[in-house]
């Protein structure tokens, strides 16, 4: 695949103004199995929103409802303030990009991209020369100049996905929807395409939703991340908010690396096995709670001040750090902490540490 170069800032794609998208209490059940339990979300015009969650979280269902490929059991979807659910998939004017590209295999790249224009009724169809101009322009935009006569089977995965995006952009969609667009690609191509998609978005300004189960992708690419689990929205926020202030243990665990310990909060202070840890309860009410921290947000305690003490079970190299797996307390809860690489402790030794950033989730 060609290296992906920055987009020519002079190029532009003719577009209507981007629109707001409002999702109000959308519910969906497949037979008796609920897939979405009342999801509400406001997305501003031109935002790039990631729907992030594990499989079965309902993120793809929500995307397909926005596209009109599925209908919700209840709820409302507004495009720019107007009801969208009353519109058929054809009339909704959304660009949809599929995980497995769904390119038409018997058509050339050119015919694929032109498809949405050539199927328009005679009166609305642009003249041939205009279609040609627009397709070639889109090919430039997705950096596939000169590949218009190829067939999809003659392209790499990354190239196919770029054709799929160009095809979706050709109809001048009001909203762009991407269903795990990089899911079928290998890691390096994924990273390149991610950056490239962000640039395309900044240039074209579509209100864009993309579904992913890759938190790194979501945090890097999106203006706002919607974390979903079991058909519900767990949290909506900027990548910083999601990473630094996760609203639930689920979000904390799903985004980034995490360790958890059961603790008690007493008068605003955290206790582990009845001993104070010198950690604030962060406003949590007294009672049992879960302490969460990132493995890299800990410091070793060697002066005997209050700390979490654990027995080292294993240690292994983890990127730029050395990761220790510890057993903590009488119940032998497993937690992970990161130490500098030159730090060397043998398995079986005790180690005391305290997180310097943490979250408390009441139970």
């Amino acid at each position: 695949m060609n290296a992906i170069t920055p987009i020519d800032k002079g190029a532009s794609v003719a577009l209507g103004a981007p629109i707001d998208v409002t999702i109000e209490n959308v519910q969906k059940a497949f037979g008796d199995t609920p897939a979405l339990h009342g999801v509400s979300l406001d997305v501003k015009a031109g935002e790039l929103v990631a729907l992030l969650g594990p499989s079965g979280s309902g993120k793809t269902t929500l995307l397909r409802i926005l596209a009109g490929l599925d209908a919700p059991t209840a709820g409302r979807v507004l495009f720019g303030g107007d009801d969208a659910l009353g519109l058929s998939v054809q009339d909704r004017n959304v660009g949809f990009v599929f995980q497995h590209y769904a390119l038409f295999r018997h058509m050339t790249v050119f015919q694929n991209i032109a498809f949405g224009l050539t199927v328009r009724p005679r009166g609305e169809r642009p003249p041939k020369a205009e279609i040609r101009k627009r397709v070639l322009h889109l090919l430039d935009l997705v950096q596939l100049t000169g590949l218009d006569k190829r067939y999809p089977s003659q392209l790499s995965g990354g190239q196919r996905q770029r054709v799929a995006l160009a095809r979706a952009l050709a109809i001048e969609p009001r909203v762009l929807l991407l269903d795990e667009p990089f899911g079928a690609l290998d890691a390096q191509v994924r990273k390149d395409l991610r950056r490239w998609l962000r640039e395309i978005h900044d240039q074209t300004g579509h209100t864009t939703f993309f579904v992913t189960h890759d938190q790194e992708e979501a945090l890097e690419l999106a203006d706002r991340v919607v974390v979903m689990s079991k058909g519900r929205i767990e949290q909506v926020g900027t990548p910083d908010e999601i990473y630094d202030a996760p609203a639930s243990p689920f979000v904390f665990e799903f985004i980034g690396e995490s360790s958890f310990l059961p603790v008690t909060v007493l008068d605003g202070a955290v206790q582990l096995d009845g001993r104070p840890l010198d950690l604030s309860g962060l406003g949590a009410p007294s009672g049992t709670a879960t302490l969460g921290f990132r493995p890299h947000d800990v410091s070793i305690v060697e002066d005997g001040s209050p700390a979490i003490t654990g027995t080292i079970v294993t240690e292994r190299r983890h990127g730029g750090a050395r990761r220790l797996e510890l057993e903590v307390g009488a119940d032998k809860h497993r937690v992970e902490i990161d130490m500098p690489v030159d730090h060397s402790r043998l398995a079986g030794n005790q180690i005391a540490f305290r997180p310097h950033r943490w979250r408390i989730f009441p139970r």
Binding site: R105, F115, G116, A164, I171
Partner: protein, 297 residues
Amino acid sequence: MSDEAFTTARLPGASAIRFRPVTMERKRVRVALILVSLAFLGLFLVMPVVAVFVEAFRGGMPAFAEAIFEPDAAAAIRLTLLVAAISVPCNLVFGLAASWAIAKFDFKGKSLLNTLIDLPFSVSPVIAGLIYILMFGSQSLLGPWLKSEGIQVIFAVPGIVLATIFVTFPFVARELIPLMEEQGRGDEEAALSLGASGFQVFFRVTLPNVKWALLYGVLLCNARAMGEFGAVSVVSGHIRGLTNTMPLHVEILYNEYNFAAAFAVASLLALLALFTLVVKSVLEWRYADEIAATRRH
């Protein structure tokens, strides 16, 4: 990959190591297996086909031509072509509709439909013929009404067409269903989201995606439609020059000890089989490519 690279591997400081792919048998075994298959094919397939043509031309070209252009034989050929020309398009439409329904959307009774499509494969063709006699014959419920309306189904062309359609209806559907299921609904959804109407999706996306499989199914369907004997034999009534198809005509000639004529007409059927085989191989070669392209997606 070259044969050499496949069978030998050179290690530094070691002589070449012979390596045989683990699933490949010893040479003796391989040769024996191939010979057995060839002998079997020769005995049961090639020899009979050759025999048909030898017998057909035993009396020379004039006798062959006379056997084929004789009025009853010509009528049988015309009838066979007519029956195929009606039943194949019917099954084309039915096969497309059924496989579209089964592969592209969910409905109650889908698996039942899927099973029923195979019925003609599991029912004896003779039974298939009898069913139509029981339905449309003079002893049937519909019989008196058909008679009063002057419609003759049994022992006439309509009965032969019905029996042929019944026997051949799985061929197109059976080719299309697995392919359409494998291709999934993604292409159709993409086309719809791009604004295509239902008709446009069908003619521009779905049909081109299955065109080779469709042609293949039609070919098999046609070969069977022209060659069907059992079901047609039951409903035809064997009226010379009227309700005899080619296979039935061959049987009659043979029973009359008119071997030269029987083999002459039979050679036409054999020719059809050979033609089908060649086109089928060409299609498989093309079609395998398309399938491979599908898998690569």
